[in-house]
């Protein structure tokens, strides 16, 4: 229990700080690297939440694919690779105010709603049961039964995104 | 066709529409055919009107509609296609048909720039459908639809064939009236819901309206008032009128003055008062007050004008003030007078606008300061103008008198529950208004007809009356005189129905 809490503390700190660096750093490439930290920490948090499969996908898709894609984007758009003072616009303060106000509101309602609610402890539950109940198998079953429609739809969605992105991004 | 009675009203409404569609397929170059189609259509519609006049049961009690047709239309909102006429609608319906015939006749060689007779005549026919429909509709939603149908053709008529400032005038007309009808439709809906009526039929709503709380009734009446008062137009909602009239082509002005303005007053008599009699009693002093303000105000406005057409337009504000005063008394006298006033104003002011149009055709201006000596240049037209001026200022023996005098008379003794003192004061003000009316009309007549023609026209040949003008005007002039001498022609038709309306108020 304590270990989990310590892990959470470390990961949460890493996530928050890295996230803040993502939106404040003056170096585009650094931002991408901080993003990797965020995504990886979040993936680790998923494991804390017993969602190992999602954690794996997170690492694979996000860190493996999306960040790489973004880095390609950075390169292709010939962004300054070093420090760049032009990365922020002049409504920074407005953005900050909105973000802080939003954070305040969210924190308030979250605390109001859940207060000290604890996550149900899974200590006594066996690994196998957990796996059967909420493991990747269960998730897979659900996707191909209950969530069959969204799944099929997402396939079309990916195809469309692919086709469209090619048309838009290709040079002609 | 065995049972023409059943389809007579629908024919009267939709025949012009058919004519308009026919016009669409005639090639643009073939103007003769276009005119002929338009004329035949209006004549055929008028024929239906004559049939209605002949078959109408004048002795029937005022609470029954005649030639009723009741068919499903929009079930979802409990609105049905109900048409029917009584003694109040009949004269206005026939007037509308009649004026349309004359307008088409007059158009024969008077197409305003940019010409295009096809579109122009089609718009007139569309207008006729809307106007006829409004006068026969007995369902509020149907009424609303027809009430609005007239907007578009008139908008285009003013905007395309109008004078220099036509775009401003047309949009003003459009926006103003639309504002009124938006409030009006809200009130219709409120009537429906607050009273819990079974349908939008006027008869149903009249029965259910007593269930509405008095305060709410007042509010709903206020909405109806705004909707109709703008159309009338009553002071202070009148400012669209002078612009619209001044800029509209002659035919548009005639239709506007003769029929469109009547839609508002008709709405008061047909809808507002029978359905909400109690609220009408509470509102009457305000309506009456605005009416007499309108009478004086319209007259003062006329005195300030330098343009003949604008002057006539402002005179409408004053004349409709008399009509509204009559309605505000909520008595049988007053409402009879109002219906008479509506018809009379239609004939007389329509005629005045015809004249203004013909004068404009000849002199290319309506500036009073540049006119003069019409009696020398075109004596027949000049005397007809004089005749109309006299009719307009309410000379006994001509139609205008019967709209004015009984209205004044009725103001002496308004319906129960309405302040007598106040209305007697209104009566005096209205009587003063008759003098002002004489003032501005004679002044106008003096400036246009008397004296020598101004320098610029003194050597220019000005043709006198031409056949389309005779054809269009003589019937009007005769009617003005006949109705003036024997008002029973109209009172005889209206009184039963008016009695019924008044009975709702308890008078």
């Amino acid at each position: 229990m304590v270990a989990q809490n310590i892990a959470f503390g470390v990961l949460a700190a890493a996530t928050s700080l890295a996230a803040i660096r993502v939106v404040t750093t003056r170096n585009v490439v650094h931002a991408a690297l901080y993003l990797v930290v965020v995504l990886a920490s979040v993936g680790a948090l998923y494991i804390l939440l017993t969602a190992e499969f999602v954690a794996a996908v997170q690492i694979l898709v996000y860190v493996g694919a999306i960040v790489v894609l973004l880095l390609f984007g950075v390169m292709l758009t010939k962004a300054t690779l070093g420090e760049d003072d032009q990365l922020d616009n002049d409504q920074r303060w407005l953005g900050a105010v909105i973000a802080l106000f939003l954070l305040g509101t969210l924190s308030f309602v979250l605390v109001d709603a859940f207060g000290d609610d604890k996550l149900p402890s899974l200590e006594g539950v066996s690994r196998a049961t957990l796996e059967a109940q909420r493991g990747s198998g269960a998730v897979g079953d659900a996707i191909f039964s209950t969530f069959l429609v969204p799944f099929e739809v997402v396939s079309v969605l990916l195809l469309a995104a692919l086709v469209g992105a090619i048309v838009l991004a290709r040079r002609d | 066709m065995e049972n023409f009675e059943d389809i007579a009203l629908s024919t009267a409404v939709f025949l012009p529409l058919v004519g308009a569609l026919l016009l669409m397929v005639v090639p643009r170059e073939n103007e003769g055919a276009q005119k002929l189609i338009a004329l035949l259509t209006t004549l055929a519609t008028m024929g239906v009107g004559i049939y209605l006049l002949a078959e109408f049961d004048y002795a029937a009690s005022g609470d029954t509609m005649q030639f009723v047709v009741n068919r499903p239309w929009i079930d979802v909102i409990s609105s049905r296609y109900i048409v029917g006429i009584d003694g109040i609608s009949l004269p206005l319906l026939v007037l509308s048909m009649f004026i349309c015939v004359l307008v088409v006749l007059y158009s024969w060689n008077h197409f305003p720039s940019p010409h295009n007779p096809k579109a122009f005549l089609a718009l007139i026919l569309l207008l006729e459908t809307g106007m006829n429909g409004t006068f026969v509709a007995q369902d509020l939603i149907l009424f609303f639809v027809f009430f609005e149908v007239v907007l578009l053709p008139m908008y285009f008529m003013i905007g395309v064939w109008g004078g220099e400032n036509r775009q401003y005038a047309s949009i003003k007309f459009f926006l103003y009236t639309l504002f009124g009808s938006a409030l009006m439709i809200l009130s219709f809906l409120a009537l429906f819901f607050k009273g819990g009526a079974e349908s939008f039929a006027i008869a149903d709503l009249a029965q259910s309206s007593s269930a509405i709380a008095h305060g709410t009734q007042l509010l709903i009446f206020g909405g109806l008032f705004m909707g109709f008062a703008i159309k009338v137009p009553m002071f202070p909602f009148h400012t669209w009128l002078p612009d619209a009239h001044t800029q509209a082509p002659t035919q548009g002005s005639v239709i506007l003055a003769a029929i469109l303005l009547k839609l508002g007053t008709y709405g008061f008599i047909r809808i507002a008062i029978p359905i909400l009699p109690e609220a009408a009693v509470s509102w009457a002093p305000w309506i009456g007050g605005l009416a007499v303000v309108g009478i004086i105000y319209g007259a003062l406005g006329c005195l300030a004008q330098t343009d003949l057409k604008r002057l006539i337009a402002f005179s409408s504000v004053a004349h409709m003030g008399f009509v509204m005063l009559g309605i505000a008394t909520l008595t049988d006298f007053g409402i009879n007078a109002a219906v008479f006033g509506m018809v009379a104003h239609g004939l007389i002011t329509g005629m005045l606008f015809f004249l203004a149009g013909s004068i404009k055709d000849r002199f290319h201006t309506l500036e009073l300061s540049r006119l003069g000596g019409l009696l020398i240049k075109a004596p027949k037209m000049g005397w007809i103008l004089g005749f109309c001026v006299m009719a307009s200022l309410g000379l006994p023996g001509l139609a205008g008198f019967w709209g004015e005098f009984p209205a004044i008379l009725s103001a002496y003794n308004p319906a129960a529950g309405v302040s007598e003192e106040l209305f007697r004061f209104y009566m005096v003000v209205a009587a003063v208004g008759t003098v002002l009316a004489a003032g501005y009309l004679l002044w106008m007549f003096q400036r246009t007809a008397f004296g020598e023609p101004t320098e610029e026209f003194s050597h220019e040949p000005i043709p006198d009356m031409q056949w389309p003008e005779y054809a269009a005007w003589v019937p009007l002039l005769i009617l003005i005189l006949v109705l003036g001498v024997y008002p029973n022609l109209l009172f005889g038709i209206t009184q039963e129905a008016v009695q019924h309306v008044v009975s709702a108020v308890g008078g």
């Binding site: 309602v109 739809v153 469309a160 086709v163 469209g164 | 907007l151 938006a182 819901f193």
Partner: protein, 504 residues
């Protein structure tokens, strides 16, 4: 038909699929794959073929919609997450027809300017597919995915004019704001899910009504979800993308966005609000009140100042969305229950589709000659294209709500709903709406004024050649607009049908 219930631990059982219920979507999927394949095989030689295929596909998908409608049974699948009922069918029909009209508008547009065609149709069909799915989706995940499917192809279609800077800008703005809105919506959905532990709307509905559900967190969740779709329907203040995107996007796509995509947003909102958040009118009613009032007013006021016809129509469609939101704002107070607000909204959407598509079709037709989107370029249209002028007048005045042209009935039923609610707030909203309809008239009429009353700006009065596809689209829309106006019963019926059968 008992379809699969929730996930069952252990043995996986392949779900029974009711193919009849899925038939419209399956047909579409087949067609869009076919389009892609044909385009690949023919390598751009069969442009017409591809377009024809797509159009036929849309019409073909209409067949199962009709058979389902005739069948009439409500088909509820996967635990209520996917439902085919009259509501869904009415909107599927609408999406298919709107898609078909867009197709008609597109064919000559694409051919004229040499854009990618096969991919265009493919994306368009994908988007329509997303909408079809949306109409039946009754759980959060399906709604989310359907929303993405209808949006993402639309993002890209908006930028189809690749070399055009405005086109780039259109797609960028649409995309970014769309993603922002999605983020907000997803956050909201996560909260809703967190409170109820459910994704199916009916379950959410019953849980949110229970005791202890009046948490601020619930309000926040509902607000965030609604914001996501308020973006989609371009309600003020989430409308800001719409004018810019509409202006920069290819005009057929603009028509599609303003009609089909907006309808998709409304469909989702109706499902969420009237099933999922049914008991929480304390939250959404005030929100919709403000949204509706703002949307109408701001849309109309800014539209007054537009000089570009497409931009003006964009603001006009913002304002129209405001009228459509009105029933939401009073739904909780209706005597017959909140569901009674759906009929008017559906009715309005159907009418709006006809007249707005018509207006954009006309813009396309005129732009073929004038090559301009400025309202001033419509000057004197009546002189050389009287037929188009009459049609455009029909469309703009229908949008303005002048009887006997379609739009009036939509406004009427919406007003009727307001008065039915019979609360002071409803009346105030009614008055705001009434005033707005007058303001709106001004800019609609100014288009008519330009066409009828102004001279031709460049003096060029050669007639406008209108290709067959466009003619078909125009006639379709015009006939629908007029017929609906004269005999509103035709759409009123659909409005009545489109009410969830499972409403309490």
């Amino acid at each position: 038909m008992d379809v699969l219930s929730g996930p069952v631990a252990g043995v996986f059982r392949a779900p029974d699929v009711d193919y009849h219920a899925f038939a419209p979507e399956l047909v579409l999927v087949a067609v869009l794959v076919a389009v892609l394949v044909v385009d690949l095989v023919l390598e751009g030689r069969g442009r017409r073929l591809v377009g024809g295929l797509a159009g036929i596909g849309l019409l073909a998908a209409m067949v199962p919609v009709l058979t389902l409608a005739v069948d009439g049974a409500n088909r509820s699948m996967v635990g209520g997450a996917y439902v085919v009922d009259d509501f869904a069918l009415v909107f599927k029909g609408l999406f298919l027809i709107a898609g078909y009209v867009t197709m008609l508008l597109s064919s000559d547009y694409l051919a004229d300017d040499d854009y990618y065609e096969g991919e265009y149709y493919f994306l368009l069909l994908s988007s329509v597919l997303g909408m079809m799915v949306m109409a039946s989706s009754r759980d959060l995940i399906s709604i989310f995915v359907a929303l993405e499917l209808l949006s993402i192809p639309a993002y890209m279609l908006a930028g189809w004019r690749k070399r055009d800077l405005k086109g780039n800008e259109a797609t960028l703005k649409y995309y970014l704001l769309g993603v922002f809105a999605t983020g907000v919506m997803l956050y909201g959905m996560s909260l809703i899910f967190g409170i109820t532990g459910e994704t199916v709307l009916t379950e959410i509905g019953s849980k949110l009504q229970g005791p202890g559900a009046s948490l601020p967190l619930v309000s926040l969740g509902i607000v965030f979800v609604i914001v996501g779709f308020a973006f989609k329907i371009s309600a003020v203040p989430f409308h800001s993308w719409a004018p810019d995107t509409y202006e920069g996007a290819p005009t057929p796509i603009t028509a599609f966005l303003s009609v089909a995509s907006k309808a998709g947003g409304f469909v989702a909102l109706m499902q969420l609000v009237f099933i999922g958040f049914l008991g929480r009118d304390d939250v959404w009613q005030p929100m919709f009140w403000v949204l509706a009032a703002l949307t109408m007013t701001v849309g109309n006021l800014i539209a007054l100042r537009q000089t570009n016809i497409v931009r003006m129509l964009a603001y006009s469609s913002v304002a129209q969305a405001g009228y459509m939101l009105l029933p939401f704002a009073v739904a909780g107070d209706l005597a017959k229950g909140p569901g009674a607000a759906m009929g008017p909204m559906t009715t309005y959407l159907l009418i709006y589709a006809a007249m707005n598509l018509g207006a954009f079709a006309l813009v396309l037709a005129v732009a073929r000659k004038t090559r301009s989107g400025e309202i001033a370029s419509y000057g004197g249209l009546f002189e050389y294209a009287p037929g188009l002028t009459v049609l455009m007048s029909i469309f703009v005045f229908a949008l303005a709500g002048i009887p006997p042209l379609g739009g009036w009935y939509g406004k009427l039923v919406v007003f009727k709903t307001l008065l039915d609610a019979n609360t002071p707030w409803a009346i105030v909203l009614g008055v705001i709406a009434a005033v707005n309809s007058v303001i709106a008239l001004y800019y609609y009429a100014s288009v008519a004024r330009e066409m009828w009353m102004r001279p031709v700006p460049d003096g060029d009065t050669t007639p406008v050649r209108v290709p067959a596809g466009l003619t078909a689209a125009l006639s379709l829309c015009a006939v629908a607009t007029v017929v609906i106006g004269v005999y509103p019963q035709v759409v009123a019926r659909f409005g009545d049908l489109a009410v969830f059968s499972l409403l309490p």
